[in-house]
């Protein structure tokens, strides 16, 4: 019979191990960001001996990484807004209404999420630079990324939301309808409040994807609207990788995401039930 204290001890042991495993690489990145270039030529001392603030100030103050960071935030938030605006009604439509070929449509949506992103590089570039429809000139704008990320985030959002919305009893709809609610009203007053945990999860995961995406951002933006992720690879040059600055930018890039996730992780847990558990 394992006693409670032994069990607790074991739990804490494992947890400490996990924490070290998770935190160590990040700590190391932070450490590197405090080192001068000359210290990084060899094995650096494993604790910070000084704070090389120029690793932070040069990209963010002298260079325009601050702007890139701002762009990342704008694009991520914009995309979340757009995705929620489109996906919630879409899922409601898919769930509650008889639509012919619903399953096939749903499946087609998911295939967009499955496709290798590299396949989209050239076609999307052609579309947004006006070669397909000549009035479109969206290269290097925030809008181009906000739109493009929908290609992956919308299907994923619909997929996440569908489980939850499907599991909400239709009787609630009918009751509201009898009370004189329109479809839109049902969506707004019944569905959305009940699906809130999943909506929050969807928002979080959408935000994360947009924040972390690099390939398409590097292709579709250049100086004005570039997000911070393609900017990280700029440090890798033929004339010296600036590990200190790269680490500094990585750490700064991590902070908003972590703050966001850290505060909302309880919603993730509440919202990822996929509606599969019913009594």
């Amino acid at each position: 019979m394992i006693t409670k204290t032994v069990k607790q001890f074991f739990i804490y042991l494992v947890l400490v191990a996990i924490t070290i495993a998770i935190i160590f690489p990040i700590y190391w990145t932070f450490l590197v960001s405090t080192k001068l270039k000359i210290e990084l030529l060899d094995r650096p001392v494993p604790y910070p001996t000084r704070f090389a603030s120029e690793n932070y100030s040069r990209p963010f103050v002298k260079d325009i990484y601050g702007q890139y960071l701002m762009n990342s935030i704008l694009v991520a938030l914009g995309n979340v807004g757009l995705v929620l605006l489109l996906a919630i009604p879409a899922t409601y439509g898919l769930s509650r209404f008889k639509i012919k070929g619903k399953e096939n449509l749903f499946f087609w949506l998911i295939t967009n999420r499955m496709a290798p992103p590299a396949a989209f590089i050239i076609p999307l570039y052609l579309i947004f630079s006006g070669k397909v429809l000549s009035f479109i000139h969206l290269i290097d704008t925030h809008l181009v990324l906000i739109l493009t990320y929908c290609l992956f985030n919308l299907p994923f959002a619909i997929w996440l939301l569908r489980g939850t919305i499907d599991s909400l009893p239709v009787e609630l709809d009918e009751a509201a309808y009898v009370d004189g609610c329109s479809n839109l009203g049902i969506l707004w007053k019944i569905i959305i409040p009940l699906a809130k945990p999943t909506i929050v999860v969807t928002a979080i995961l959408t935000w994360l994807f947009s924040w972390n995406e690099m390939l398409l951002a590097s292709i579709l933006t250049s100086t004005r609207a570039s997000t911070i992720t393609p900017a990280i690879i700029k440090f890798v040059t033929m004339a010296g990788t600036d590990w200190g600055e790269m680490a500094a930018v990585s750490i700064v890039c991590l902070i908003p995401a972590f703050v966001f996730l850290g505060f909302t992780q309880r919603y993730i847990i509440a919202g990822l039930t996929f509606g599969a558990m019913k009594e």
């Binding site: 739990i11 804490y12 494992v14 947890l15 996990i18 998770i22 990040i26 990145t29 030529l41 060899d42 094995r43 650096p44 757009l82 605006l85 489109l86 879409a90 409601y92 439509g93 209404f97 008889k98 499946f107 295939t111 967009n112 499955m114 496709a115 290798p116 590299a118 396949a119 590089i121 050239i122 076609p123 052609l126 579309i127 739109l147 919308l154 299907p155 619909i158 239709v170 309808y177 479809n183 972390n212 690099m214 390939l215 992720t229 990280i232 690879i233 590990w243 990585s250 890039c253 991590l254 972590f258 992780q265 309880r266 847990i269 509440a270 919202g271 990822l272 996929f274 558990m277 009594e279």
Partner: protein
Amino acid sequence: MKTSFRKQISGWGFLSPALAVIGFIGIFPFVYVVWLSLYEYNVFSLKGWIFTGLGNYLKLILDARFLDSLYKSILFVGVTCGIQIPLGLAFAILLSQQFVGRGVFRTILALPLSMAPVAIGSMWVLITRPAVGPISYWLSTFGITYNISESSVQAFLTTVIMDVWHWTPFVTLTFLAGLTSIPPEPLEAARVDGANAWKTFRYVTFPLLKPIFATILFIRIMDTFRIYDEIWALTSGGPGTATRYVNISLVRTTLAQSDYGYGATMSVFLLYLTVALCTVLLKLISKVRKEYE
């Protein structure tokens, strides 16, 4: 259930904005890529566009280099998902116990998820560099030479560990979601019946988790196949071709070699491979879900 004419149209009404956006940016690329895959077209070729029909596809399935990277990808996906899913489940069970500081640990789990893949790859480069990284140093004190630029096996394992580090927290959080929504009655019943922890898990908890299990498997397999940023930053597909997974092959063909025709072929092939794989999994999920309706 009402199925009036009005409801049908409204359904499409709700759906159409989303469809419009995805259609606008999704259909043209798809058509373009399929069309491009029927041609032999390299930007630097003197011959220009040459129609080959399905010739590219034939070439692809006989292409030893591509098949090799496909094999390595499948191996990678298998090993890494095979580790992170059971591991995530185990951690989830652990974190669903009652203990002080539970919230703190759950928050720490969010850290790996918050990092951009390219940053994660660079981070792992820093800690695994042969002369300069802490892991190599630490292992050398045990007499182990750790050099991922020399040893294929070590490089492969490092990519696995990196991916496990990155995504196990996500798996854990997902399973935690599942665990916390398990109603307590069946667990109580099992306990009253005298079942021990393992039996409870095996016959009560796990079956209830099956839908989530299938779903997370689906997501992880789909995403691990598409991995690029981290691996490229860490090993460039090396040493030699040890970690040159399928998406790296694709990106190098399309962007570096400017072989747009063949790259398009690869894209279509990989898309349908993933689709086939995921169809199987999706059917599994809905079958499993139906069992619990």
